[in-house]
Symmetry: C2
Amino acid sequence: MPSSDSRLGLLIVVSGPSGTGKTTLCRKACESGQAVFSVSCTTRPPRPGEVDGKDYFFLTEEDFLARVDRGELFEYARVHNRWYGTLKSYVAENLRKGIDVLMDIDVQGAAQVRGCEDELVTKCLTDIFVMPPSLEELRARLSGRGTDSAEVVELRLKNAEAEMKHWRDYRYCLVSDTRESDEARFRAILQAERMRSSLRE
Amino acid sequence: MPSSDSRLGLLIVVSGPSGTGKTTLCRKACESGQAVFSVSCTTRPPRPGEVDGKDYFFLTEEDFLARVDRGELFEYARVHNRWYGTLKSYVAENLRKGIDVLMDIDVQGAAQVRGCEDELVTKCLTDIFVMPPSLEELRARLSGRGTDSAEVVELRLKNAEAEMKHWRDYRYCLVSDTRESDEARFRAILQAERMRSSLRE
């Protein structure tokens, strides 16, 4: 018989093009105390005000690559000459405490996490692809922000199209509608997944 | 890109001891138009008022067994000298129309459905075990009904204990709490599962 209050945390991988509100959905879930954001590690230097262990784990390149070699990272990528990645130990510690961890990562990162054969991760992992209602609507949302030039919007749309080819790799496909509907459905997924038998001892 | 309004139906198998409110949960989901109850077939004669195709599909024993031989049934069992089972064609027709189908069946029936290697079923199937908060609470609920003798209550508890050994076979374990909480969590599971990528073309 499962104990009703003791369970592993969920590892929730969330992907989707920018402009779908994906990051806001994740942030809302964290604000309401439902989950914590995964803290990544990076080799870029901290910006003013950034706190080690809160915003990022700041590592030297030597340390980062040594950890990669020892298999301590779930997923990692090089962006603008800097390394970014996620430490397995950080995620595992939270999951064992029953804390749900959200990872807002791209389709390549998600594939790396999915490919990890760790037993704990297999028990705890779920993934959600947040899909724009249509490319037209995504263009309207990206242009509507007013922060990006027309060229940047087109580039984002191209990336979006490439990312969107991978929606089938995710257990859930949340097609974005209104903000309220998206939030309610995101919450429903988290609420349902917390009842997964695999999370219980 | 998935169409947001075209999807296969879910096949939701629900098991759990009597006294957990499992049947009420299923009925509520059907009343609110979220799903339909699976109509079983049986070789027992119709009772007054029962309608063929609504309460049951009433079949002769010869027809029933011929269908079993042709592999047309998902699951079947003999109870009190009569056959009961579920026709694959009935379920498949609903799933293809995008209608969610609830099956309130025991752990043996659920194992039969899970063992079915039909591709459509694999895409659409999910299962929920409704668990009493504790055996003591289940005893209190069963006695509280006032419909069963102490002996019958003890027999039901014995059966419950045997059924409860199988909760891990189900994707979801819903530990019964208040009726409101149970209904909300059951709804959340259905809402989440409807976003499964496997349901979309």
